[in-house]
């Protein structure tokens, strides 16, 4: 019987919390990521690790009950953090991703051309501005308005899959999603999670019945 190739990364491990023992040094030839299974920021780094086929180990951190030793890895206990066998620590999700692209051979994720690289970074800045643009409950102020409705459909669809429970990183966005779900208009048109998933399954199979999924 053919043996299945062992998966090189296993991120489905229990998170470490207060009172846990710090993991030992990172073995040679491996890089460690301190992560959390549902965090979109460390998800970025895990995507790059996977895309480049980089051998790594995952240590999940309990973000609501952080181990004391974790503050020696990041001054504010944030994730993701990369640690290599030379005890070098790298943090900030975008910086970790760029570090991996620079430090490891193989498939290059950032373009070679300086202008194309700059374009990607400009696009990321625009995206971050959406995340940062909130200093009020809604994007337009204290009441729901056009911009909230214009952005909502994409976030509703992400929410169907359960948006990451990343307490520290995007509390404003989480609050916005919660506030939006209380709006009567949004509620009236909220897509049922199971129906949406059923639609997607059929849609990706190019099944023309997809569009009527869930109708009697």
């Amino acid at each position: 019987m053919r043996r299945r190739l062992e998966i090189q990364c296993e991120d489905e491990t229990r998170s470490l919390g207060k009172g846990s023992c710090p993991p030992g040094p990172v073995p040679e030839g491996l890089i460690r990521i301190y992560s959390m299974r549902f965090c979109p920021y460390s998800h970025r780094t895990r995507l790059v690790l996977k895309a480049k086929g980089i051998r790594h180990e995952v240590v999940n951190i309990n973000l609501r009950n952080k181990p004391e030793w974790y503050y020696t890895k990041h001054p504010f206990g944030q994730i993701p953090v990369l640690e290599n066998s030379q005890c070098q620590l790298i943090y900030e999700s975008v910086i970790t991703c760029e570090y991996l692209d620079d430090a490891y051979p193989g498939r290059r994720l950032f373009p070679y051309d300086p202008y194309e690289r700059a374009r990607q970074k400009m696009l990321l800045e625009l995206f971050c501005k959406i995340l940062d643009y909130q200093n009020t409950t809604y994007f337009g102020g204290d009441c729901i308005s056009m911009i909230d409705y214009l952005l909502w459909p994409w976030f509703e669809r992400l929410d169907v899959y359960g948006i990451a429970d990343c307490v520290n990183h995007t509390p404003a966005l989480r609050l916005w999603i919660a506030a939006m779900k209380q709006d009567p208009t949004v509620c009236a048109l909220l897509i049922d999670k199971n129906i949406f998933q059923g639609f997607l399954n059929l849609y990706f199979q190019n099944n023309p019945q997809a569009f009527d999924f869930g109708l009697p």
């Binding site: 910086i95 620079d102 202008y115």
Partner: protein
């Protein structure tokens, strides 16, 4: 714009690398319509090359210049050292908005809280210099990270915020060393001129950006 700290980053890099360039100053209090075609956000700095490619966001323009042009590399080749410079940049990231808030509020309210916050941010940078034991933020020679954060330190005197580096001796020493760098001193802004610019700018005067000309 002659007094913009963000644009100064790009000018520092252009000069440090000896890149031939032309400068078009934009009146930020009376922006030409065509400028929004260069940057939809209407902000400076923006780079435009002969192929019509446009690059904006000051840190991105600086990195682009370092990659696209030959000569002295301002960012290290070593991936970890490069990442370290970017992590220091993150540590600095609250400073520009703190300084901007201070400017807007100093004539209206007590800003001791803001000054305290600035001191806090500066102590983080002091800690970096303490740990690295080098003269500059990237090692023993001046490099990208030093140029990226310099413009705000250059303006401390004009803004009467020198007290915020009162408890950060290494940072103060770094500032003195930076002033001796030929690129930095070539772009030095006169304290009085900057103060007059700020006054006009806060009054939304369309003459502000051309003060002194």
């Amino acid at each position: 714009m002659r007094f913009c700290a963000f644009a100064e980053r790009t000018l520092l890099v252009l000069n440090a690398k000896g890149i031939r360039h032309e400068v078009i100053n934009i009146n930020l209090k009376n922006k030409p319509d065509w400028f929004f075609k260069k940057n939809p956000l209407g902000l400076v700095p923006v780079l435009e090359n002969s192929q019509g490619q446009l690059i904006y966001e000051s840190a991105i323009t600086c990195e682009y210049l370092d990659e696209a042009y030959p000569g002295k590399k301002l960012l290290p080749d070593d991936p970890y050292e490069k990442a370290c410079q970017k992590m220091v940049f993150e540590l600095f990231s609250k400073v520009p908005s703190l300084v901007a808030s201070y400017l807007r509020r100093r004539d209206k309210e007590d800003c001791s809280g803001l000054k305290e916050e600035l001191c806090k941010e500066f102590s983080k940078l002091e800690e970096v210099l303490n740990n690295k034991k080098t003269a500059f933020f990237g090692g023993n020679s001046l490099s990208m990270i030093d140029y990226l954060i310099w413009p705000w330190f250059e303006r401390l005197e004009a803004l009467e915020l020198n007290e915020c580096v009162g408890h950060t001796p290494k940072l103060k020493l770094w500032m003195a060393t930076m002033r001796k760098d030929p690129t930095v001193s070539a772009l030095h802004i006169d304290v009085k001129a900057f103060q007059c610019f700020i006054e006009l700018y806060l009054q939304n005067s369309p003459e502000a950006c051309d003060y002194g000309l």
